[in-house]
Symmetry: C2
Subunit: 425 residues, 2 copies
C-alpha cells in the first residue's frame, strides 16, 4: 500500500495548518463569543446595492461574465480600480494591475516567484500568519524584525544588524513583507519616517518590498499616511514595491477578489505564475464588482464601515479599560484603523494555554499571539477582533476575557507568593 | 538597481507562458474565426436560471455568502455535489470533497503536494498543457506516454518499459496524470480495459492517479464508461485516485469553481495547501452554485449542452470530410464527447508555422499541437474546438483551414517534386 506521507513533496512537509482557521471552526459554536476571526461586520455588507450590480451583469454582460476571462483580470474592473486608486493619489496603468483571488493568492504567488528553499523573507515580529504559511509552503525562511516600543514600524537598528548578520552568514533575502497600515495582528500603523526608512533600506540592499494593505482604507481615526508604494512612485520610482489590496475588508470577503499593484515587469511574471495556478479569477465576480464600483457607492460604503468600526473599537477599548486588571504589564494597542487590537499580558502567561481555559471556562475565544511568529514565538499576547461582534457581545466578551486573565494572574501570583514564602508558613 | 530576472526563484525560471492563453488574446480580433480556445458555447449558459439562484442567495443567505468561508468549501454546495455524483454511481462523503477555484487550481495543488524538483509525473503525449505548465512551475518533469493507434488510452507496453527505464535510472515518479474522458487535446476516450490496466499499474508501482474529468458529463454519443476513481472505489478501494471536476464545462467557466474527489487523507493535505494559497474559493459563487444545483436544473442543462455540441461536432466532421484534402495522412479524431478534435497532417507540415500563415492569409486560428507536449513535441497536428463557434462560422472556418492546409501540402509537394527531378528540367 502507498504511504502518503512518504510521497509528499518537501514543500508539503513544510506546510503548516493555519491555527486560526482551525480555531475558527471551533469557535463557530453559537455559545462562544469569538474575538478570534478576522471577519468584517456582516451588517456593513451593502446587500441591496450588490444585488443591483449583479442584476446588471445578468441583464447586460452575461455572455462575457459566465465565460473564461483573461489571467490579467477583467478590463472593466481594472478601469474602476485605477480610478479608485487615483483618488488616493496612486497612478496606475492597466499594466501595473493584476486581479487575484483575494490577497492570500498574492501572498502565495510572491514567494513562489522569488523564494528558493532556504532563502529569506524579512517580516515583522509578529506578522500575518497567512503570509508566513505561504512562505513556508515554498520552504522559505523568515528573518523576524521586532517593532520599536513606539510601535511606529520596524526597529531599523535591529533590521540593519540582523540583515548584515544574515548576509555575512551566507543567507539570501529577496523581499521585505510589511503591513504598514493597521498591521495584522497588532493593529499598529507605521509612521511616514519609518516607511521612508524602509524604502531606503530596500533600495540600498536591492530588496523588493511586499506591502500588504488590506486595511488601508479602513482608517477611522487620525491622518492618512502615504503607502510605501506611493513613496516609491513619487520618489525614485524604481518599481520595487508590490502592493496588495482586497475587497474583503472594504466591501465583502465572499467576493474573494483582490488586486496587485506593481511594476509592469513584475506583473508580467505574476501573470505567468497565475496562468498555471488558476487561469483567471472568478469572471462573474469581477464583472459584478466592476458594476458595483461603477455605481460610485464604494466611497460611502467605506465611510460607513469606518464609522461602524470606530464605534466598536472605541467601545472595546472602553470596556477593556473598565474590566481588565489595572497593571503596567497588561496593555493593549489603540489602533486608528483595521480590525484588530493586540493585548500584551505579563511574561509568565502563555496565551496558548489561556485560550483553552478561556473557551472551556468562559466561552470566549481569541487568537494566541504565538501563531504570528515564524520562529521563537512570544507567548504572552493575543489578537482580538472588534469588527465582527455587536457592542453587546463586545461588552460581554471583554468581561469574560478580563475574568479569565484576572484569574490566571491571581493563580500565578498566589503560587509565586507561596513559593517565595518560607517553608512551613 | 535591482535585476528582476536574477531575483527569480528556480520555480519561476521554469514557468512557461501558456501558448494558448497568449494566442487567445491574438484571436479575439473579430475578423478571425478562432477554433483555438476551449470555450463553451455562450448560448448554453442558463442566464435566467442562474439569476434566479443568485437572487435567492441575496435574499436569504447574504450574510454567509458575503463573508469568509471554510477552506474545505461551502457545505450546501458540497451536499449538492454529493447528490450529483451519486447519480453517476460515485459514493462520496463530505470528507472526500474539496471545492477549488476551477480545475486549474487543483492541477496546481497536486504537484505542489507531491513533486520535488526533478521528480516525475507520468502523462500522455499529448496532454492538457495547463497541467504540464503547473508541473513545470514546481520544477517537475513529465514522462510522456503515447497513446495506442486505436486511441483507447496509453500504450501500456511503452508505459511499462518507460517507467522501468526511469526507475532504473534513479528517477522517481509520484503520480500519473490522465484525462480519460474526451481528452484535451485529442478528444479521445479511454476504454474500460485500459482504465483498469492503468489502475492496476498504479497499484503495482505505488503511484497515485490524477484523473482530470472536466468533460466527463459532456458525452453526446456512445456509452458511459466508469471513471478510474469509480473503478478504484468499487474495486480494491485503495484511495489512490484523485478525481477533478469543474462547473466550467457543464455550466459556465465564469463561476471558476471545481471540485476534487479523493481519500480523506489526501483531501486533508490539500486543504492545508489551499489555506496558504487562497484561504477559500469564492463564497458567494459557491452559495450561488448551491442554489442553482438545488433547483435540479443542472441535469437538463447538461443534456441540452450535449445536444448542442453533438450537432456542432457532427457538422464540423461533415465539413472536414467535405473540404479537407482526401489523403491517408490527413485525418481527425471523431470524439464522442468534449469540446475538441485533433487533426493530424503529413509529417512534413509544422502547424507552428502553419498557424501564422492561417491567421495572416485566411484569418482562421487553431492551437498548434506542439504545445501539448512536455518535451520532444510532435509538430504535425492541431487542436480545433467545435463548441464555441456557430455552425455558420464552423463551415466558413473549416473552408479556410482546408484551403491553407491544401496550399501547404501542394507547396511542399511541388518543391519536393522539383527537388527530385533531374537538374535542369
Amino acid at each position: 500500500m502507498i504511504n502518503l506521507d512518504a510521497m509528499l513533496s518537501d514543500n508539503a512537509k513544510n506546510m503548516k495548518k493555519s491555527a486560526i482557521r482551525e480555531l475558527l471552526k471551533l469557535t463557530s459554536r453559537p455559545d462562544i463569543i469569538s474575538f478570534a476571526g478576522g471577519l468584517p461586520a456582516p451588517e456593513t455588507f451593502p446587500v441591496a446595492d450588490l444585488k443591483e450590480a449583479a442584476d446588471i451583469v445578468f441583464d447586460k454582460h452575461s455572455a462575457k461574465a459566465l465565460q473564461y476571462g483573461t489571467t490579467e483580470g477583467d478590463v472593466d474592473l481594472k478601469a474602476e480600480i485605477i480610478k479608485f486608486e487615483a483618488r488616493q493619489g496612486v497612478t496606475l496603468k492597466d499594466e501595473n494591475l493584476l486581479i487575484v483571488s483575494g490577497s492570500q493568492q498574492a501572498l502565495d504567488m510572491v514567494p513562489k516567484l522569488f523564494i528558493n528553499p532556504g532563502e529569506y523573507v524579512i517580516a515583522g515580529r509578529p506578522s500575518y500568519l497567512g503570509a508566513l504559511n505561504a512562505i513556508q509552503a515554498y520552504q522559505g525562511k523568515v528573518l523576524g524584525i521586532p517593532f520599536t516600543p513606539e510601535m511606529d514600524g520596524f526597529d531599523m537598528d535591529v533590521l540593519a544588524r540582523s540583515y548584515s548578520r544574515l548576509v555575512q552568514g551566507g543567507g539570501k533575502a529577496k523581499y521585505i513583507y510589511v503591513i504598514p497600515d493597521f498591521q495584522n495582528p497588532a493593529g499598529l500603523c507605521w509612521s511616514l519616517e519609518k516607511r521612508k526608512a524602509l524604502l531606503k533600506f530596500a533600495y540600498d540592499h536591492d530588496l523588493f518590498i511586499l506591502e500588504d494593505s488590506p486595511y488601508r482604507e479602513i482608517r477611522f481615526l487620525g491622518e492618512h499616511v502615504s503607502s510605501i508604494y506611493q513613496l516609491d512612485q513619487h520618489g525614485e520610482n524604481r518599481g520595487i514595491v508590490i502592493n496588495l489590496k482586497t475587497f474583503s475588508k472594504i466591501l465583502a470577503p465572499g467576493t474573494r477578489t483582490g488586486w496587485i499593484m506593481a511594476s509592469e515587469a513584475i506583473i508580467n511574471k505574476l501573470v505567468v505564475a497565475k496562468q498555471a495556478m488558476d487561469l483567471c479569477s472568478g469572471v462573474f465576480t469581477q464583472k459584478w464588482l466592476a458594476e458595483y464600483m461603477k455605481s460610485g457607492k464604494i466611497y460611502e460604503q467605506i465611510k460607513q464601515t469606518c464609522e461602524n468600526y470606530r464605534v466598536k473599537r472605541n467601545f472595546m477599548v472602553e470596556m477593556l479599560e473598565k474590566h481588565m486588571p489595572k497593571r503596567y504589564d497588561v496593555k493593549w494597542t489603540k489602533p486608528e484603523g483595521g480590525l484588530f487590537l493586540w493585548i500584551s499580558l505579563p511574561k509568565y502567561i502563555s496565551t496558548d494555554e489561556l485560550l483553552l481555559k478561556a473557551i472551556e471556562q468562559e466561552k470566549v475565544a481569541f487568537v494566541a499571539g504565538s501563531g504570528f511568529y515564524f520562529d521563537e514565538p512570544e507567548h504572552n499576547a493575543m489578537r482580538i477582533n472588534f469588527s465582527y461582534s455587536s457592542t453587546e457581545l463586545i461588552e460581554d466578551g471583554v468581561k469574560r476575557l478580563a475574568r479569565i486573565i484576572t484569574k490566571e494572574i491571581e493563580t500565578y501570583e498566589a503560587g509565586h507568593r507561596a513559593k517565595t514564602l518560607p517553608e512551613g508558613m
